[in-house]
Subunit: 360 residues, 4 copies
């Protein structure tokens, strides 16, 4: 049996650990042959493959990134080609299917986020067997308890908070850290809890600058002349969402104009509280680096489980973690549901108990 494996979408610590586990499990347990497809679906269309044996995956477990390369676009169903010096988008899916068949690939293991997996589902509907492995640094996929890469991102963000803490305290400043999380505030919530933040701003809970400043003042009154604010990039003030949609533009909040939520919050806090503020945007640092042990293990389990699913003749499924077990769910169902922070949940309650304000 010969299978293909590809990685798609943004970078995420643990991709190499998945690839390694796929190859080792396929080779060791089932004697399968594995072809690596380069740069996501692009390599499928362009037929750029690389044979993956035990030798090729040696030493990649602790490495960030993906040895296969990845791209953020390049759907075979809407594929960019240059025609007469212009970008034109054409459907290359039949060509891709032809490539798959011509190379004798009996299945594809597709490691990616919702965009990448939605394309995988389309191929499945056209008769190609695919097994999905979920990848999102934001941990915002409801079909799995947790995704690999998230723990590493939280660790990077927590280390950043640890570093900002001493400067904030020495200078009596309000330090703002902007982290990833466009639709869900998981990284901000976890890193904020772990780093001992004073304020956490997440997309799920609209905030007001007044409430943030009230928290800062309360601390000041207790002699704590500094504060740490962790803001998910998708956090927005009350009414802010409408502005983003352009309904009452210019009125309250437009993150694109203002250079991001961190900068916005920093300026507003400085205005209203009189405190010195500083903002740090963590950005791509969250996507890189050696995965934490937990992410390496989860990624390894996902990679092996994808091959197990193939061996069990499952088709069109995605591996996921439920409690302590790695299971599969239909790919179709899996990719549609966003997991947001439950605002009445245990974590938010605990955060409030230890004195963290959500600006609400």
């Amino acid at each position: 049996m010969r299978i293909g494996v590809l990685t798609g979408g943004g970078d995420c610590p643990g991709l190499n650990a998945v690839i390694r586990a796929v190859v080792k499990t396929a080779v060791n347990d089932y004697g399968m042959e594995v072809l690596g497809i380069k740069d996501g679906y692009k390599g499928l269309v362009e037929e750029e493959f690389v044979p993956l044996g035990l030798e090729q995956v040696t030493g990649i477990l602790p490495k960030g990134g993906t040895i296969l390369g990845t791209t953020n676009r390049d759907s075979p169903f809407h594929y960019r080609v240059r025609v007469n010096g212009q970008d034109v988008y054409v459907d290359k899916s039949e060509h891709a299917i032809d490539v798959i068949k011509r190379n004798g690939l009996e299945a594809l293991i597709v490691i990616g986020g919702d965009g990448t997996l939605a394309i995988a589902q389309k191929f499945f509907e056209k008769g190609i067997n695919v097994i999905g492995v979920p990848k999102t640094i934001d941990n915002d996929l409801s079909a799995t308890d947790v995704t690999f890469g998230f723990d590493t991102a939280v660790t990077t963000a927590t280390e950043a908070i640890d570093k900002l803490h001493t400067t904030a305290e020495s200078h009596h400043r309000v330090m703002i850290l902007e982290v990833m999380g466009r639709d869900a505030g998981w990284i901000a919530l976890h890193a904020g809890l772990a780093g001992g933040a004073d304020v956490i701003l997440i997309p799920e809970i609209p905030f007001t600058i007044e409430k943030i400043c009230a928290k800062i003042k309360e601390r000041n009154d207790r002699g704590r002349r500094f504060s740490i604010v962790v803001a998910a990039e998708g956090a927005a003030p009350f009414g802010g969402k409408q502005v983003i949609s352009g309904i009452n533009e210019g009125n309250i909040y437009n993150p694109v104009k203002l250079g991001g939520i961190g900068k916005f919050v920093a300026e507003k806090i400085a205005e209203q509280s009189g405190h010195e503020t500083r903002v740090t945007v963590l950005g791509h640092l969250q996507r890189g680096g050696s995965p934490t042990p937990r992410d390496r293990i989860l990624a390894t389990r996902f990679g092996s489980a994808a091959v197990y699913a193939l061996a069990r003749k499952e088709k069109g499924v995605m591996v996921c973690l439920k409690g302590e077990n790695v299971l599969t769910v239909p790919l179709k169902d899996a990719i549609e549901q966003l997991k947001r922070v439950p605002i009445e949940g245990d974590l938010v309650k605990t955060a409030k108990s230890v004195g963290i304000s959500f600006g609400d």
Copy 2:
């Protein structure tokens, strides 16, 4: 309402995070007063208390250890006192109960392992309200999915494997890392998976040197002239357990005589395979250091949950993690059951798929 909190048993990253969450939740949410009891139960008998307010727990979240101090012994039910220059053990439990009452402590929050919690249960049976918070670096308590400190220990062990890897490879050596785990192999299994070990030895799976050497030879035949062995301190060869109990001593394996499982395995592998071997005993490094973000969060949740349980008038319970929720279980039931690595479970299966031998 006034409560006491103490930490008992071996060191574990996250203890301070629990103390901080207990104090913050008690003060912020319920206006309780918290007394810290110094050095475990010793401070209870000796009436050594320290008031804990928001000020006292500032800045301790990222710190290892416990600001309250701890001891490994000193049960009030069997308390060591010096009489005429000799150690005598007496029951000081009634005295301790008197101290509790005289100081107006309506409940104790006891953070500790099975020994410490068993004493807590005894106090509960004598009418003192206690809430337990489980602490074991080994993660071997069946009443909770996971314990704080474990992730930090696994991280420390994985970093050690990462370091040994390059030396092993450069020198074509077999490097053995001995990690904690007297009764259960969780640290060895997780760190071995995360660090890309070739052999993992755990108490749950008796091993033979022959099988270990077969794995090393198989690697050698593929040009991989080095191997990494991770051994839990409680791992033993087939028949080894009996020796430990003294039934057929001298026959096969006696770790006390031989200076630990790591040393034993290193010598035997060198003898049988002819490879150079080196052993590193990680020891106390696993118990120290700043807790990982995950451990800080879990410890914080446990600390808050202990106070929530008090506020809900629960008595004689222990907090625990089940899936994504922190719940309580009767303390009595909780402390009796050891959680061992399921040898037919998902993790061991995955480990074998990626080529790890358990020496069986």
Copy 3:
């Protein structure tokens, strides 16, 4: 003998290690009494002191920041006071000298950058004994071979490059990291060398976008479809300096308008090379965190040496590292000379040999 110690200017890892060494050496070796002055010179004017004994400096060695607090301004010679709701600047230096004398301080140990030390020199000229300890994260002081905090900043920046590397490689991107260094490119040069950057941009060497793109293309031609650019915040293109001074504004380069050198370079490279680019601004993360062992040791040596100088009756000097020895130089001479990267020096030559372009 009673002395005072203060920290001034921006945060820098190792400040606490200096304070600790000052106190321990003063107390242990000479039985001196030490008063900590809070928030830089502000505490001197406002007479906010805190006694520092062995107890107060326990446990602060590995901690970032300064237990004394610091400010970036507040010169007693030009001190901001509010009069009728307006900021007015007055000379409070005589008042400060009065405070020093009234409290019996026979000397001040002043830990700070050029601004802070220039004020120290002014006090020295007015008859107060001062010993300076140099502090600059940028390592741009010619009077000392190296300053504490620099190694930590370089380590933070190198870890960031390590993280960006895998993402750059997986995505075939040009990743730009903007680091500190307004007048001198030491952090960029060291971190770029240590992190394996492909391009390093420093204030000492004006660059052109064309040369940067030529390097990127050369790598591309060898199949290396990604590049890492490390840019000191003060780097500027040929002719850029004039623009900053407003001589031919709008013509080539205005970093304030363009949001920093990183953003400028990222946009220009994308335009000219067609590569995807991403920029990360490291910012305050470079000033925080636990100091590296090297910085802890250097800071400790500086702190002790400042007290030794006092004991030797030296006056108006600054401690510094020369080769393997900690010496003193007249404060007056020390603070005037900027140490810039020698563009014909050994480090730049080595960087070029290993294939790094400076864009020149």
Copy 4:
């Protein structure tokens, strides 16, 4: 021009950085051809070479170990061969020279410790051009201010002390950390200073258990009920040296019998002071892991400088760091002199000032 490069002796972080710099400098600056010699001198005798171009050294800068492999023995002048099932040692140096000439190697760059470099000198005396790059994790070579790998080892040891600190404090224990340093105490001294040790034991200063216990008692009297002892493996009590040489064996101290200095000291302190003690032997962890930025830079400079020396037609020299410059010294002079900690020097004085006892 074609050159060979080999690595010999124990593992050391930075070896790969040297190899990378040698190759990049040789190829980029001089168009030389580089052959890697596998497993130290063994690969020279066995003629096991691997071509090293830019491609082969990509990505190895941050990796520990050596891609060339290394051995601790295998001198061509005293080479082990199996004859009739027995080890016999023969002179293979002429054969090695023949291999060198037959492969057209005009020079060898030899990266190694005193043993490896002494062999290099022998080859030089026989007419082979060699350039040495010093490698010793112990930093005990007088010909160079500092060696790569040392900073990483000190960092690993300091992190270990940081971890032991909290456990020591929580448990009121004396924790002993045994680090490398058979002849010189540099690692112990630097890590002890950086980690805030209370006692440092080094080969240069004989100690007594009484003095150690006096320090522990002094701390106890101030309410500091724990202590950290860092011991270099070569440290010995007064009179201990003689015992090692067998002059008055059994009398005082025999580290081989007692299982190492750490264990010896732990037992004696427990006996004399009544404190609980625990010992950790750091061992091979000090030799592994990703090199610190400082070590990566120094290793890179050494690698480039070795090629520069070749290009300048230097022969039989070793690169070294003197102040801020990388220079060369005759290999012959370089390898003979041990650099020991000056017991009247600045570092020891500072250590004493901050309260560290050397047990003397």
